[in-house]
C-alpha cells in the first residue's frame, strides 16, 4: 500500500534512489568489515578445547572424523574441535581461513599445503616447533627415519624462511596416470610400462580413439593436475628450484604446452572448460585415463571400479620421469593457548598409528611414512601400481609456491587454458606466463 501522498511514480523514483544508496553502501561495506584486533570468534582456542581447521570436502569428512575419533580414544583429556572447510582446492581454502583469521577467529592448528607454507611462515603467525622437536627427539627420529629424505629436504627448504622449523613433514600427493585398462585392451593395445614416452602416449590415444571412439585423457588447466605434469616430464617447470625466477619461456616448457594443446586439437582430449566428470567418464570407458594423486580413490571405490585401473608413471619426453609434489603441514599458531595439546595432536597426525588409521579410513593423501604407504592399510582395495605414488618422490618437483602464489596460480591456469583452446599459441602464451610470474615474484 502506498503511503499517503505518495504516487506510484514517486514510489518508483524513491525506490531507485534507495537502491542506489543501499547497494553502493553495502558494496563498500563488504570491504570494510575489519577488526584486526578482534578476539574470540568461533574458532575456540584459549580454553581446554583444541581447534583444528582442515580442508575436507563432504566425501572426505568420514575419514577425517574417524581419525579424530581415534585421537579422542587415545587422548581422553584433550577435546578436539575440528572444522572442515568443504572446498576442493587450496586457494579457496586459504581464502576462507585467512579471512577468518583476519576477522579474529583463532585456531590452534591449521592444515597447510605447499601452496600456503611460505605465506603463513613469513606472516609471523606460527609457533616455531624447534623446542618441541628437541624435547621429543627420539620420537621424531623414528618418524624421520621412515620418511623419504626428499620430502624432509623439501619440507625444510620451503617452510623455514628464518631457519626455524614450523612444519613436520606431512602426507603428500604426487601425480600418476590412472589408466582404465579395459579401454586399453578394447582398443587392442598393451598396457604400457612406466618408461613410456609422450609419443607412446599419443599413439595409444590414436589407437583408443580410432578403435573405441573414447578420449585418451582430459587436458586441463589446473596447475598441479594439468600443467605441472607436462612441464616436469619435459625437464621444465614454472619456476626455478628456489622459486625466485620464472622459467616458463624455455624451449622445454613451450614444447610441453604445445603437446598438451595437440591432445586437444586432435580430439584425444575433450575440449577443456566443460562440465564433464573425468572420473565418471573414465570409469564408464569413454576415456582411457585421467591424471591424479591419491584423491580419485574415493570415487573409484564408490563406483566399484578399483580393478579396472592401473596407475602408471606419467609419460615422459626430455626428462626421465616427472611429477609435481605437494604436501601438507600441520603448524601450531603462535596465539594458541593449548600448545602442548596441539603438539600432541600434530605428533598423532604424523605417527604410524595416525597415518595408518587415516589411510585405512579412505584418506585421500599419500602417507609421509614409507612403512604406511607400503602397507596393506594404504594399498588394499586400491588399483595396481598405487605404490608408484610414493615412488614418485624420487623424481618429483615441489609445486612452486612463492608467497604470491594465489595470483601466480590464477595467471598460470588462465594462460594454460588459452593455450589448450588455441586462443593463443604455446610460445606466446608461455612468454606471457613468464612475464606474469616474474611480475609477481
Amino acid at each position: 500500500m502506498l503511503a499517503a501522498g505518495m504516487s506510484r511514480r514517486s514510489l518508483l523514483r524513491s525506490g531507485a534512489i534507495a537502491a542506489a544508496g543501499l547497494t553502493s553502501a553495502s558494496l563498500l561495506a563488504a570491504c570494510g568489515s575489519d577488526d584486526s584486533s578482534g578476539s574470540g570468534g568461533d574458532g575456540g582456542g584459549g580454553g581446554a578445547e583444541l581447534s583444528f581447521v582442515y580442508m575436507g570436502t563432504a566425501e572426505q569428512q568420514k575419514s577425517w572424523n574417524d581419525l579424530f575419533a581415534e585421537f579422542g580414544r587415545t587422548n581422553r583429556t584433550i577435546k578436539l574441535e575440528a572444522t572442515g572447510v568443504p572446498v576442493d582446492n587450496w586457494a579457496a581454502f586459504f581464502d576462507k581461513v585467512n579471512t577468518q583469521i583476519a576477522g579474529g577467529v583463532k585456531y590452534d592448528i591449521v592444515q597447510i599445503a605447499t601452496e600456503g607454507r611460505e605465506l603463513f611462515a613469513s606472516a609471523n603467525l606460527l609457533e616455531p616447533l624447534d623446542d618441541f622437536i628437541g624435547r621429543d627427539r627420539r620420537e621424531l627420529d623414528e618418524l624421520l627415519a621412515d620418511v623419504d629424505p626428499n620430502l624432509i629436504k623439501w619440507n625444510t627448504e620451503s617452510g623455514s624462511p628464518d631457519g626455524r622449523t614450523y612444519y613436520l613433514p606431512g602426507d603428500f600427493n604426487t601425480m600418476c596416470l590412472w589408466l582404465n585398462t579395459d579401454v586399453v585392451r578394447r582398443a587392442g593395445a598393451e598396457v604400457p610400462t612406466d618408461d613410456w614416452t609422450w609419443d607412446d602416449f599419443y599413439q595409444l590415444g590414436r589407437q583408443v580413439k580410432d578403435r573405441t571412439g573414447a578420449f585418451l585423457y582430459p587436458a586441463t588447466a589446473e596447475y598441479f593436475i594439468g600443467v605441472m605434469p607436462w612441464l616436469t616430464t619435459n625437464g621444465a617447470s614454472t619456476m626455478s628450484a628456489d622459486w625466485r625466477t620464472a622459467t616458463c619461456d624455455t624451449p622445454e616448457a613451450i614444447e610441453a604446452a604445445e603437446f598438451a594443446r595437440k591432445l586437444v586439437q586432435d580430439r584425444l582430449s575433450p575440449a577443456p572448460g566443460g562440465s564433464f566428470d573425468r572420473f565418471t567418464l573414465t570409469i564408464q570407458g569413454r576415456m582411457a585415463a585421467f591424471g591424479g594423486g591419491r584423491w580419485p580413490i574415493l570415487q573409484v571405490r564408490s563406483l566399484r571400479a578399483v580393478d579396472k585401473f592401473e596407475l602408471l608413471a606419467w609419460p615422459h619426453n626430455k626428462a626421465e620421469r616427472g611429477s609435481p609434489v605437494g604436501w601438507a603441514g600441520y603448524p601450531i599458531f603462535k596465539t594458541s593457548e593449548n600448545k602442548e595439546d596441539a603438539w600432541t595432536f600434530v605428533k598423532f597426525l604424523v605417527s604410524e598409528e595416525g597415518e595408518t588409521y587415516f589411510a585405512k579410513g579412505g584418506g585421500t593423501i599419500v602417507p609421509a611414512r614409507r612403512s604406511v604407504a607400503e602397507s596393506p592399510a594404504f594399498l588394499d582395495d586400491s588399483p595396481r601400481g598405487t605404490e608408484k605414488l610414493y615412488e614418485a618422490l624420487q623424481y618429483a618437483t615441489p609445486i612452486p609456491s612463492p608467497p604470491r602464489n594465489n595470483i601466480i596460480q590464477r595467471e598460470i591456469e588462465d594462460i594454460w587454458g588459452q593455450i589448450l583452446t588455441g586462443n593463443t599459441s604455446a610460445e606466446d602464451g608461455m612468454k606471457k606466463m613468464q612475464d606474469e610470474i616474474s611480475a609477481n615474484l
Partner: protein, 316 residues
C-alpha cells in the same frame, strides 16, 4: 498511541480556525526513534560503520594476515595505472550497457505480449514461467548454463554450431569473443523476470480511457504505443534503467562462478576484480579503494540519470 492521536484530533482551534498543535512531550519525542531503533542499529552496524571502515582501509596496505600500514593516497594513484582494473571497468560498462538495453527491450516486449486477452491459465503460466528464473540462485543458474554452454555436449554449443557460429569447437566460456556475450545472455535469462513483472504492473496501471480516447481520435496500435503506452510507462522504464544499471555495474556471480574473469580477463568485472584483489591477492586496502571507486561511479551515474529524467520521463 491512541491517546496522543486523540489529543491532536481533539485539540482546540485557534482564532483563525487553523489547528494548533501541542508540542510533544519528552517521552513522545522519543517514541518514533524507539520504533526506528532496531532497523537503525542494524543499518549503522552493518552498513554505515563498515563503510567508514572501508574508507579508512583504502589509505592502508594490508594483506589480511599482517598489520596495516598507512600509505596515504597510493591506492588511489594505483587506480589510474592498473591496466587490469581498466579492463574490468571496460567489460563492466559493456555488460551494463547491454544489460540495460536488453532488460528494457525484452522485458517490455514480454510484458506487452502477456498484457492482452488470453486464456487465464495461459496467462498465469506465462507469468510464472517468465518470472521463475529470477527466483533461482546464481549458483544454480551458473551450473545449469555451464552445462548448456559446455564445449563437448552443451545444447547451446550444439545449436550454435548448427546455425553457423564460427569457432565454437572450444566452447563459449573459454573463447575471448563469446565469453562476455554469453554471460550477458545468462544474466538476462536470470533477471529478465523482474523487469517483466514491473513492466506488466506498469502497463496494467495505464488508464483504459486514454486508449479509448486515442482510438476515437483514429490512432492505430503503433501510434497508441508511441503516444500513450511509452509516455505513461516512462517512470517504469526509468526505474528499470536505474535498477538495471546498479545491478549490472555490480555484477559478480557469473564472472566468479563461471569464468573467474577469464579468458585473459575477457569477462572480469569490476566487483569480481575487487573480490580477487581483496580476498585472493590479499590487497585489502587497494580493494577498498576499488570499492570506493564503484561507489562514486554508481552514485554519479544515478545522479546523472535523475537529472536527465526531467527530459524524458512523463510526470503527469
Amino acid at each position: 498511541m491512541s491517546s496522543g492521536a486523540t489529543q491532536i484530533v481533539g485539540t482546540s482551534r485557534a482564532v483563525g480556525g487553523a489547528p494548533r498543535r501541542r508540542s510533544p512531550r519528552g517521552g513522545e519525542k522519543l517514541t518514533p526513534y524507539l520504533f526506528l531503533s532496531p532497523a537503525l542499529l542494524l543499518f549503522l552496524t552493518f552498513v554505515v560503520a563498515p563503510l567508514f571502515g572501508a574508507i579508512a582501509l583504502s589509505f592502508t596496505d594490508w594483506n589480511l594476515l599482517g598489520s596495516k600500514r598507512f600509505i596515504g593516497l597510493d591506492n588511489f594513484t594505483r587506480l589510474a595505472e592498473d591496466g587490469d582494473l581498466h579492463k574490468a571497468l571496460g567489460n563492466t560498462l559493456i555488460f551494463t550497457f547491454w544489460s540495460i538495453v536488453l532488460h528494457v527491450v525484452v522485458g517490455l516486449g514480454m510484458a506487452l505480449a502477456v498484457n492482452r486477452q488470453m486464456w487465464r491459465v495461459t496467462r498465469y503460466f506465462l507469468r510464472t514461467a517468465f518470472f521463475f528464473p529470477f527466483l533461482v540462485s546464481w549458483a544454480a543458474v551458473a551450473l545449469i548454463w555451464q552445462y548448456a554452454l559446455d564445449p563437448n555436449f552443451g545444447i547451446a554449443t550444439f545449436y550454435g554450431d548448427k546455425v553457423g557460429i564460427p569457432g565454437l569447437a572450444d566452447g563459449w566460456l573459454l573463447n575471448k569473443t563469446y565469453a562476455l556475450p554469453a554471460l550477458i545472455l545468462v544474466d538476462l535469462w536470470h533477471t529478465i523476470g523482474f523487469a517483466f513483472v514491473v513492466f506488466l504492473a506498469g502497463l496494467q496501471a495505464i488508464p483504459g480511457h486514454l486508449y479509448e480516447a486515442s482510438e476515437v481520435d483514429g490512432a492505430g496500435p503503433v501510434r497508441r504505443f508511441w503516444h500513450v503506452t511509452l509516455p505513461m510507462l516512462s517512470p517504469t522504464i526509468f526505474f528499470i534503467v536505474v535498477i538495471s544499471f546498479i545491478g549490472a555495474f555490480q555484477i559478480f556471480e557469473p564472472m566468479y562462478i563461471m569464468t573467474r574473469g577469464g579468458p585473459d580477463g575477457a569477462t572480469s568485472s569490476v566487483v569480481q576484480y575487487l573480490y580477487e584483489t581483496g580476498f585472493r591477492n590479499y590487497e585489502v586496502g587497494y580493494a577498498a579503494s576499488i570499492g570506493l571507486l564503484v561507489f562514486v561511479a554508481v552514485l554519479a551515474a544515478t545522479l546523472v540519470q535523475f537529472l536527465l529524467r526531467r527530459r524524458w520521463v512523463f510526470e503527469g
